[in-house]
Symmetry: C2
Subunit: 118 residues, 2 copies
DNA sequence: CCTAGACATAGATGAACATCGATATAGACA
DNA sequence: TGTCTATATCGATGTTCATCTATGTCTAGG
């Protein structure tokens, strides 16, 4: 069993929380949510998310994504890893290619946390 | 005229954008949105936001907020400044005390950017 | 097998950031 | 005017992070 199945991804901790403005966040909750927000608080990762979401079939190959940036391939790979480990992107390997897909539920939960109760 | 009136706060740049997943974000747009997300991507600032929002009358005095953390007064002041300069908190000084208030519209816009179109 | 291509990992480096103690500012009041 | 209290700013410090080059891994084709 892989280690990632034994630990909660950050995104799994969000669905269970009431909106930010409804009640004071506990220290523990805040510490669990912050990494998820950090994951999208980067211009490159924001563009990666929207590129994947807007791509045909809702998924995109890494090879397509690399071409959209003036950054090295390892750098893009690093950012995709951050998004994947946060639970915001699903990853599937088919042959030599790796495809990423946005987890819409994760983004919805995050939006509800920020904007819910307003 | 103060300098802050001549430059757009990060939050002012969000209301005008279509949701993340609807169309690929331009590099410029992503660069403008990221600082706003960075502002809330910190456990202390998340708790500050929710403490202010959940406080009586929707506003809180800095003196109340300082007590809620095991951090120095300058550190809290720094975090409040980040939230204020992002456009997420309104600031009003009354006598010796400074009160902060959540700008609900800013959070709504941000939530729409993340979760809109899902 | 062996090579080529797609993607990930490792290690290094410079920039950004959270935090602190010390100090400044500004208002209330004796 | 002088002092006390509330908040902000300054300068230093350790940590986190984005990025790079070099290298590893895995798969398909010859």
């Amino acid at each position: 069993m892989s280690k990632s199945q034994l630990t909660l991804t950050p995104v799994q901790t969000v669905a269970c929380c009431s909106p930010l403005v409804s009640a004071p966040l506990s220290e523990e909750t805040a510490e669990r949510i912050a990494p998820l927000l950090k994951a999208i608080a980067d211009p490159v990762r924001l563009r990666l998310l929207s590129l994947v979401a807007a791509h045909d079939g809702g998924e995109a190959c890494v090879c397509d994504l690399n071409d959209a940036f003036d950054l090295s391939q390892p750098t893009i790979s690093h950012h995709l890893k951050v998004l994947h480990e946060s639970g915001l992107l699903d990853r599937s390997k088919r042959g030599v290619w790796v495809y990423y897909r946005v987890r819409g539920e994760a983004l919805s939960d995050l939006a509800a946390l920020i904007g819910g109760g307003l």
